[in-house]
């Protein structure tokens, strides 16, 4: 394992050195060719180097180029608790709830607003009719059974079986 890590590091540093060489060579050639003065070279070269280093950093860390997540997912307090424990991996939400796109990282906030409590990776988003919910869906959403879900979802028992629900599968990324 240590050998593998050392090899990975070597490859990374070799690539970084190659990119640095290419940048310096590029600046030298273009400064010669276009007869660039010091100020244009500093501004142009500085911008290119900055963008290249930023890109390399994002590629190395696997973080998206857009930066921190902008969308948030609002969940009840119990669901957030279970999500943090890792015992809940799915949220069943009504259609009107704004849901971040699958593949994105979202801030999780408690229902009713407030500060983000965690960052979750949204792994999948799909729709389902209320009466087509399966046992494993509701168990992943932290309920004991489909009946238990229905009791919580529509306390008066007046739920519509053809209501379209949004099922969001998520994974904990970090606690805020």
């Amino acid at each position: 394992m240590a050998k593998l890590r050392a090899r990975e590091k070597t490859v990374r540093y070799a690539l970084l050195f190659t990119v640095s060489l290419a940048l310096v060579a590029g600046f030298w050639f273009h400064a010669e060719f276009y007869k660039l003065g010091l100020v244009p070279l500093l501004l142009g070269g500085g911008s290119v180097t900055f963008l290249t280093l930023l890109l390399l950093q994002r590629l190395a860390t696997g973080k998206p180029l857009v930066g921190r997540p902008r969308r948030s997912l609002s969940l009840p307090r119990e669901a957030v608790g279970r999500g943090l424990d890792g015992t809940q991996t799915l949220a069943i939400l009504p259609m009107r709830t704004p849901v971040p796109a699958a593949g994105s990282v979202a801030n999780v906030v408690l229902d009713g607003g407030g500060r983000p409590v965690a960052r979750m990776r949204i792994e999948d988003v799909r729709r389902c009719l209320a009466e087509d919910l399966r046992e494993n869906d509701v168990v992943a959403a932290g309920f004991e059974s489909v009946d238990d879900f229905r009791r919580v979802w529509a306390p008066g028992g007046a739920s519509d079986p053809l209501e379209v629900l949004v099922l969001v599968t998520f994974r904990l990324e970090a606690v805020s």
Binding site: E32, A101, R126, L129, A158
Partner: protein, 575 residues
């Protein structure tokens, strides 16, 4: 050997390695063929430059270079045209062929005129040498234009178009721009080469892999008992569940290859034995759907594709879903078929799909329609519930192919009761059985795209006309199993009637009625029927006000009358 040839050899090796990687990973045949051709030709032209530099003798390296150099750029243009199609496919094919032929013509002229590697992107003195510089630039301009057009018009392919744009810019900088710069700086070794080809190959490869079609084998679907004779084409089914879309898909598929493209939900009973691929979640979903459908239909021009869950694509890709399906329509061969289910879409999303040129169907839920027929002929739909319980499925999972076995089940049940009834009712029994069979068979044979004109007679009227006692009143036929309640609650029956007559629009209308009544479905009784009918009328009138197509308005009025008749029937059944 100087550093120049070494660098060029490294670029060629990197290009070949990446081309091999693409050859085994990318499943889009036409686009792959063009990009591999382009990379191979770029490698040959770069290798010809090295050969001219390091090998002695009079080998015709200049001729090899001219042919590969010109055709490599033509192949890049053809790749962009094939990969990011816009407009008619025949025009695209003509465009690719035209550019390639022009490249071949120029190459022949160049070999005949004795153009040399050193002439690449140099200040020209003759028309021929002008064209040697202009043709590659024009080809790259075509690729740039295609990428920009795709970024603007194909919302589901912006990411791929962006990568293609970057790749083309890299080729432009590494080719014409650097040729001029390096020549001025005195690095003549690099004349006629493009060292940026491996970088462009990585970017083009990323674009190809981002929307790589899902793997399929092109198997025929199993034979299903769907008696519909439908011509090939595009079918869009506006329904609660994809029941009719599955049946339409199986009816169209016949013995030809068929592919069901599904979301990430559980597998459906109606697709057992069918070749199925699952869409990936995330922003790639819409472009992978389009790529898979197009590639499948390109390889099997008489094949059928089912988009089982358009709601999944909409959830992942937003408006890109519609653009993706439209792009499949544009690329569809003559004898191919595409079936799209709009189940679980919101009204505004359904409305957006209305612009798709297709054969439309808006059937009611199958189990609700079958229950309505049974209720009309027998006074109760309990036999349906008993049948699905025996088959260990829910009524909602009933498919079109299940209608004949259901009819058989019901007829067997009736047959069993005939022996128990008295002789006077004998002719009536056979009449009921025959009418029921007629209704169910007609229902089974009618495709969802054809409006049914069946009048759902009230049970009292049907049986009264026959001079019979109501079947549901005979003990045994309608006797539920011990654990089941007697009959369905009236609310459930009314909901079924709403869905049977109004299709998917029935659900929101029913919800609005319940909201206004401030009651749960289970609490609806006979005393509420007048209010339900009135509120349903109001809701349907509002719905009709929003419909600006005359035919649709008439159809809605017709459905509303049928619903009112059935509601009146519920009131007259003496429940």
């Amino acid at each position: 050997m100087t550093v120049g040839p070494v660098l060029i050899v490294v670029a060629v090796a990197a290009t070949v390695w990446f081309a091999c990687l693409l050859a085994v990973s990318v499943r889009r045949r036409a686009a792959l063929a063009w990009i591999l051709t382009a990379l191979a030709l770029f490698s040959v032209s770069n290798a010809a430059v090295v050969a001219r530099l390091v090998l002695p003798g009079d080998a015709p390296w200049d001729a090899v270079w001219i042919v590969s150099f010109l055709l490599s750029h033509a192949a890049v243009a053809a790749f962009a045209i094939t990969y990011l199609p816009s407009g008619r496919s025949r025009l695209r094919d003509l465009g690719s062929a035209g550019i390639t032929l022009l490249g071949v013509g120029l190459a022949v002229a160049g070999v005949a005129a004795g153009w040399r590697i050193a002439d690449a992107f140099r200040p020209a003195t003759t028309a021929g040498l002008y064209s040697l510089a202009a043709f590659p630039i024009a080809c790259l301009a075509v690729a740039l234009g295609e990428s920009l057009a795709a970024m603007r018009h194909a919302s589901h392919r912006r990411h791929e178009a962006w990568l293609l744009l970057l790749g083309t810019l890299v080729l432009l900088v590494g080719g014409p721009v650097y040729a001029v710069e390096l020549a001025v700086l005195g690095h003549v070794d690099f004349a006629g080469t493009n060292l940026a080809v491996p970088v462009a190959a990585v970017l083009f490869g990323q674009a190809l892999l981002a929307a790589n079609p899902l793997p399929f084998r092109g198997r025929a679907a199993p034979t299903a008992r769907i008696p519909w004779d439908l011509p090939p084409g595009v079918y869009v089914l506006d329904e609660v569940r994809p029941t009719y879309a599955e049946a339409t898909f199986l009816a169209l598929a016949g013995t030809q290859p068929a592919l069901a493209i599904v979301g990430s939900g559980p597998p459906r009973r109606g697709l057992e034995g069918v070749e199925t691929v699952c869409l990936p979640p995330g922003p790639r979903c819409a472009s992978v759907l389009a790529a898979t459908a197009k590639e499948f239909l390109a390889r099997h021009p008489r094949g059928t594709v089912l988009v089982h869950d358009a709601s999944y694509v909409v959830t992942q890709g937003g408006p890109g879903a519609l653009a993706a399906i439209r792009s499949v329509l544009l690329a569809m061969p003559e004898g191919a078929s595409l079936v799209v289910s709009l189940a679980m879409l919101t009204p505004s999303e359904r409305q957006a799909f209305r612009t798709v040129l297709a054969t439309w169907g808006s059937p009611p839920e199958l189990h609700a329609a079958v229950a309505a027929i049974l209720r009309a002929r027998l006074g109760s739909a309990d036999l349906l519930r008993r049948a699905v319980r025996e088959w260990d499925i829910r009524p909602q999972d009933l498919g079109v192919a299940d209608v004949p076995p259901l009819l058989e089940y019901v007829q067997n049940a009736l047959q069993g009761l005939r022996t128990a009834s008295d002789g006077a009712a004998e002719p009536g029994w056979s009449q009921v059985s025959k009418s029921l069979a007629g209704d169910l068979v007609e229902f089974w044979r009618t495709p969802p795209t054809q409006p049914t004109l069946r009048t759902l007679a009230t049970p009292a009227a049907t049986l009264g006309a026959l001079g019979l006692v109501k079947a549901s009143s005979i003990s045994g036929l309608d006797a539920p199993p011990p654990e089941e309640r007697v009959g369905a609650p009236m609310g459930e029956e009314i909901r079924d009637a709403f869905l049977a007559h109004l299709g998917p629009a029935g659900a929101p209308v029913w919800r609005r009625v319940l909201r206004t009544l401030q009651k749960d479905a289970s609490a609806i009784g006979k005393e509420d029927l007048a209010n339900v009918a009135r509120l349903a009328n109001e809701a349907i009138a509002d719905l009709g006000g929003a419909v600006d197509v005359a035919d649709a308005g008439r159809d809605l009025a017709h459905r509303s009358r049928r619903l009112q008749a059935q509601l009146a029937g519920f009131g007259g059944e003496g429940r």
